[in-house]
Symmetry: D3
Subunit: 130 residues, 6 copies
Amino acid sequence: MDFPVEEWSNRAEAVKKQFYPSTGKSRLAGNAMAELDPEFAELIQVVARGRAYADPTIDLKTRALCTVACLVGLGEQRYVENWIANSMNVGATKDEIVELMVQLFVYVGTPKAVIGFEAAKAVFTERGVQ
Amino acid sequence: MDFPVEEWSNRAEAVKKQFYPSTGKSRLAGNAMAELDPEFAELIQVVARGRAYADPTIDLKTRALCTVACLVGLGEQRYVENWIANSMNVGATKDEIVELMVQLFVYVGTPKAVIGFEAAKAVFTERGVQ
Amino acid sequence: MDFPVEEWSNRAEAVKKQFYPSTGKSRLAGNAMAELDPEFAELIQVVARGRAYADPTIDLKTRALCTVACLVGLGEQRYVENWIANSMNVGATKDEIVELMVQLFVYVGTPKAVIGFEAAKAVFTERGVQ
Amino acid sequence: MDFPVEEWSNRAEAVKKQFYPSTGKSRLAGNAMAELDPEFAELIQVVARGRAYADPTIDLKTRALCTVACLVGLGEQRYVENWIANSMNVGATKDEIVELMVQLFVYVGTPKAVIGFEAAKAVFTERGVQ
Amino acid sequence: MDFPVEEWSNRAEAVKKQFYPSTGKSRLAGNAMAELDPEFAELIQVVARGRAYADPTIDLKTRALCTVACLVGLGEQRYVENWIANSMNVGATKDEIVELMVQLFVYVGTPKAVIGFEAAKAVFTERGVQ
Amino acid sequence: MDFPVEEWSNRAEAVKKQFYPSTGKSRLAGNAMAELDPEFAELIQVVARGRAYADPTIDLKTRALCTVACLVGLGEQRYVENWIANSMNVGATKDEIVELMVQLFVYVGTPKAVIGFEAAKAVFTERGVQ
């Protein structure tokens, strides 16, 4: 089977510009995976951004909110923060993020929900969002 | 502090009708929680549906997809199935569900992603969705 | 360092009689661990029952309820069931089990709480507890 | 269905006084959930304390130890710390906490058990408990 | 960046033959992911087998045992079973599998260790390994 | 049943020397478990090292890599770090560790894989491994 890797690569670049309009890169770019195996880290990004996020079946803001929700389920605070920031870069508002955390509480319980709220607060503070 | 429980109760009924247009109730209704502590189970539903899902800040379809994503993160197949069905009842398509699972793979890895795909397949089969 | 393994062994036998007054053994006895490495499986039981459960610092019923709570946190339905049965064998009532699940909901969220309630219902049904 | 929210509210206040006799509030009070959605955070506390902890079916100390056990299962160190402190405020001793961690080791394995022991040590140190 | 996808593809085929000498395919082949998005499922296999497993830095048997260990950590019984079978196809013995489960007990605790032992027993039974 | 505790004790000492040739002890030695219940902490080490790691059925380097893999599955960064260091003390190389993380990505997804890569980087930096 042949994979349209070059097309994914191009689409990934476009997605990156939408998610990181000012810095041009994720706040998690340059992490240890990128340092220890740059080719593999790049592959993950090309597939994630170029195959998944760039696909127009679901709009980018909905996708970003779903990733936030998944990461709250996983309890990964640093990634939740990253994706709340990404979702706000493609149009999500503070109120939507807070509403999402309230909804997720029902499924994940207090400790993981609070991880979500704290990640949200960190991003809001960073951006001066009241 | 006073909580608008009656308002939530009414809004919860409306949400229930949107999620379960034909049967009027969740496929997980009547579970052991509802049997062993009906008041508490009802409270959870009133808060979940009336306080969270009914709030117009995020539309119902986006909310349902986020719940699917969160449950894939938790690895809870039966609940993923339930919420894929709910999301399709408020407008999500087969293609959107499949796309979502591809995207979530990146965060959850193979075993949990396959739980998501299997839940999706079960719902598609049940509904005769090609 | 010297470990009082023989003492633990004796105390473990006594604990076993309290937890399994009618059958004399756990419903999970004879599982694959016991079959594939009987010595190691026996060691775990001697330490668990003889070092931990037999220690009088915490009474057996409180210990059993704590184990139920821990296993609900882990989301392990079969083990939750086993320990609800054990806790009832040392004095826990249906009402206490139901109350515990309501309390744990706050920390674990719906899917794991429902695992707890379903395990409880299975044990209540098995025993004909109304 | 009607929920006795006012009664829960009153009972919650009484529970709060028992858990936090000196400060009057949880060490996790004022977290990001309380800041971003005070009404929802208050609701959770009213239900948790007023519906669950205040119910006399299980005494407060046993409940607190069960919550510690559940949180060790979840691996949530900050919450384990909080609930070890709460349990000691309603009568649990250092020896009981240490015994509980030994018991839970069997179910959760080393990394989560060590989270429990480290949370315990932090609370003991804070209180000057030898 | 250019990825050697064709090389990975070829190497993946070779790995597949080593892991599945008799059937030519994984017992999990044809799962819902492969059915709902065959291209993506194929990509995962090409990368997993062709980029990771085929790389000679670590031999195939050690890799397979590490995957078993990781999956026991995740608590995914069906995948543990699959990878115990794979590891035995590239040289792992019953004794090694049992030894590994004993070792992992220390980190994962009883419920997940028993998942590992039960998966092992299922594979041993299937193969008539005494 | 009689357990060869003294033999395990002696074998545990030998394993300890292999894993910690320079310091003679684990970097996690003296943690809160060892402080609050030294006998129990010692028992765990005697069983883990003397019963499991010392058994020659699987060589020490393969065992250490399997423990790393299990801990990446559990998402326990501090323990992953400890066991990457241990595995390198018994012969694992930087390349093997990086390869292992690439392989595990497939099962655990991005956040846990990055925990693994970051633990690896921390150990490589500490040792001046290029």
